[in-house]
Symmetry: C2
Subunit: 233 residues, 2 copies
Amino acid sequence: MNEINDKRNAVVLLSGGLDSYTTAAVAKQDGFAIYAISFDYGQRHSFELKAAKKIAQSLGVKQHLQQVVNLRAIGGSALTDDIAVPEANTPSISEIPITYVPARNTIFLSLALSWAEVLGAESIFIGANAVDYSGYPDCRPEFIESFEKMANLATRIGVEGGRIKISAPLIDLSKAEIITKGIALGLDYSLTHSCYDPDQLGRACGKCDSCYLRRKGFEEAGVTDPTEYASPR
Amino acid sequence: MNEINDKRNAVVLLSGGLDSYTTAAVAKQDGFAIYAISFDYGQRHSFELKAAKKIAQSLGVKQHLQQVVNLRAIGGSALTDDIAVPEANTPSISEIPITYVPARNTIFLSLALSWAEVLGAESIFIGANAVDYSGYPDCRPEFIESFEKMANLATRIGVEGGRIKISAPLIDLSKAEIITKGIALGLDYSLTHSCYDPDQLGRACGKCDSCYLRRKGFEEAGVTDPTEYASPR
């Protein structure tokens, strides 16, 4: 993965999970210099932020900014409230899972937009995926398109005749396809953390939606899953 | 100002300035129960946050949430960087003033959106004004409309058939018209803080864009300006 032209900057949302790692690698492959942004938003655990740091190092990003946003003060999700994380495939009253965090991608993209404007970045990359997370309103292509339109009206870039692009290169891919793409790019998925509810050692629970999708993805891709799960299936 | 129906909730962006105070009062007049949100974003001083607290109390808001967002880590503005605040009417290289904070309204509205979703609020009120701040891209009506569209795609509310409205009741008003409206609503503007660059006692500089517009607004409205300015004109 050589940088073809390191003068084009991109801000990449880096959570520490498999999708954002793959997204950052795609941006790098596309020739962008990467400015990674991660969020301590009051999530249940900090293992994914540790993973984000390792990923940022391994990809050789230009800068890694960690922002603190207290979504716990707002609540409304099993990821930021004292609500139990359900096991995978638990029937839900709503079509939207309880792990949905209200307006999270909007908030993260907004902060990325501010940084992109200061950096003169051409693009913001997000690992949103509409296939496996079809229940999250802010992972749909129509949301991404709408955010891009708004972003160009909101900022100096748009007013002065430039254009900022919101890139979601994984939006239409299955988890297996994402993993296949990442392996082809030489990625080491043992760096990533996906579980919503790890034990105190940081081991994945093996039971939540996120673990379920990750396991299934590796299986379907025919790739050995490097994750240590606390519980067998 | 009686509350006609306190079951309709609105989130109101409250900066501590004259515009957001008037906006909150309009929302209250419209029958909304007010959930005020203020931001410690790394601005040059905290006098406006103190003003926001006093305003929230005087309006009898249901809750006042203060969020911390470190825009200083991102920079790019005289309000969050070590760049001098220019005096009013200083010629600028760009049409956009150096006091513009990249994507600030987008970030603030996004956090308000998250809270609005959790509260089941119908509306988010913002004191954006396109007349006196015509240089700020995120104070234009087309930005507000675009954010509203995006917000309804981003959230549970929109997906489940509801609708969240972004209300900017001052967008077309001059500062004098805003003051006239506020005085009619019985507001006490001595509670507010507008200056970009106050002295250590919190006294308005009397020289920056914000002081200039405030002074001019009171004059044109024919209302005595309760502000103590550190320097005469």
